[in-house]
């Protein structure tokens, strides 16, 4: 398994898209952080960039990568290795190269310009989002029959979590505003990894005015520390559950 991870990494670290992704992240980070003297604001802008781009780029790149590797996967599977090992190795190689791109592209500028716990949490948020959406991409890959459909589903999933989910949440909050729905809202947020990421980061920045309804709820009900732990655990679930399902489905998939 280590061998496969190593060679997938070797391949992906020389991938042009990953290089360009790293450079764009780095340029964005440096320019955003230099725009304002207030580092908190810079971090917030970077957070928005992360929440907007990381999910969609990760899920698209990963889905396409998994589909393009079908023949390579077959070749590996014709060797005496377990199916689970092959698919997990491909996931780990894929997710860690994208995570590395984020860590370098955003992490390095942060380290030099705004080092501190908040910056660390932002990098953690980006890395977790990368792992989550790679995991979802794997699930899409094992569930869908062909590449075109897979990419379509990946796009829909990414747009659902970045745009549609919040719209539905707001509709929900407005229509039930007469009832005590605070806890329900927290529960619903757990179903969107991007919201979890936003809340996690905003809890660190302590800019309550910018936290919005959901962030304020987290603070009120869970407090900063518990809220952070809650959102991190939920995000870890978002990595593990799709991954576990993918491996199970892949065991019986026809190639």
């Amino acid at each position: 398994m280590k061998t496969i991870i190593k060679y997938v990494l070797l391949d992906l670290l020389r991938n042009k898209i990953i290089l360009v992704y790293t450079i764009i992240l780095a340029v964005l980070s440096i320019s955003v952080l230099n725009l304002d003297s207030n580092p908190s604001k810079g971090l917030l802008s970077l957070l928005n960039v992360t929440l907007l781009f990381v999910p969609i780029i990760t899920i698209l790149f990963a889905t396409i990568y998994f589909f393009n590797s079908i023949e390579f996967t077959e070749l590996l599977l014709s060797q005496p290795i377990k199916r689970q090992k092959v698919i997990l190795a491909e996931y780990i190689g894929m997710a860690s190269s994208l995570a590395a791109a984020y860590a370098v592209g955003v992490g390095l500028p942060l380290l030099f310009l705004v080092s501190g716990t908040e910056s660390l949490i932002l990098v953690l948020t980006g890395v977790l989002l990368t792992l989550i959406f790679s995991s979802l991409a794997l699930l899409i890959f094992v569930k869908s029959k062909d590449k075109t459909r897979g990419i379509g589903i990946a796009l829909v999933v990414a747009l659902f979590f970045t745009l549609l989910f919040d719209g539905l949440l707001i509709a929900f909050i407005y229509s039930f505003s007469d009832y005590p729905i605070d806890q329900a809202v927290i529960a619903i947020i757990a179903f969107n990894p991007i919201d979890l990421a936003r809340v996690l980061m905003l809890l660190q920045l302590d800019t309550s005015a910018l936290m919005g309804y959901s962030g304020a709820l987290f603070k009120k009900f869970l407090g900063s520390a518990t809220g952070s732990i809650f959102s991190i655990s939920c995000m870890v679930f978002w990595v593990v559950v799709p991954l576990f399902l993918s491996v199970r489905i892949f065991r019986k998939k026809d190639l």
């Binding site: 070797l10 590797s69 070749l75 014709s78 005496p80």
Partner: protein, 241 residues
């Protein structure tokens, strides 16, 4: 060596394989023939465990395919389309497979040198032509001197010289008592290699005979004429039964 019992597989409503029973022994070179979509690749992939059968059982050297993945160490597989990670070099691909197969320390690298891949080992897979990628696939299939070779359209896309080289290698391996299973539409390429013919159509096994038997029943000697004759006369007769 390979025993297939009652193998059935469908994709949706389409029956790719319908109750196939086969036995293949060492020293045989079996050519798997049939029109496009007749189930050849599905059969090969079932043997490799890439396609999970609905019904039936495949055993290889008494290992049941579904239960035990270790049997695949005995198989060298050359896929129809070889696609590799873009940025890996030929050398890295070969090294990776060697590292995965730690059980082996002896390698059969005759084809690597024969095809001249050792001289372009630093080229990335993306930059290679389809034929060269095919050569890499062939080298990987023969690398560990397995007991069973499964070759899916091995000579398609190869230049005449390389194609000859690969055929010579197959003849040599067969003489060494290996089992070779080949699908190919280029019948002239199978001349002198194939000892048995399996003919599939619409997922059904039409016949499984030795080349001599077929030559005797058709009165032809060239393989492509033999098969053409069989397709004209014997297959329609079989369908009516």
């Amino acid at each position: 060596m390979i025993r297939i019992e009652g193998l059935t597989k469908s994709f949706g409503k389409f029956k790719a394989l319908d109750n196939i029973n086969l036995q293949m022994q060492e020293g045989q070179a079996i050519s798997l023939l049939g029109p496009n979509g007749s189930g050849k690749t599905t059969l090969i992939k079932s043997i490799l465990g890439l396609v999970i059968p609905e019904k039936g059982k495949i055993t290889i050297n008494n290992h049941v395919v579904r239960e035990d993945w270790a049997y695949r160490s005995k198989i060298g597989y050359m896929p129809q389309i070889g696609r590799y990670p873009d940025n890996m070099t030929i050398e890295q691909v070969i090294k990776m497979i060697k590292e995965i197969r730690k059980d082996h320390t002896q390698y059969d690298e005759e084809l690597i040198y024969g095809f001249g891949l050792d001289k372009m080992k630093t080229k990335t897979m993306r930059s290679l032509s389809g034929g060269t990628r095919q050569k890499v696939s062939a080298c990987l299939a023969f690398l560990f001197s397995p007991d069973i070779y499964i070759l899916d359209e091995p000579t398609a896309g190869l230049d005449p010289l390389s194609s000859e080289l690969l055929k010579e290698k197959m003849v040599k391996e067969r003489a060494a008592g290996k089992l070779i299973l080949i699908t190919s539409h280029v019948l002239s390429d199978l001349e002198g290699i194939a000892s048995h013919i399996i003919y599939l159509q619409d997922g059904n096994l039409m016949f499984y005979k030795t080349v001599e038997e077929l030559q005797a029943s058709t009165g032809e000697s060239k393989l492509n004429k033999v098969i053409a004759q069989v397709m004209r006369t014997e297959l329609p007769a079989m369908k009516h039964n």
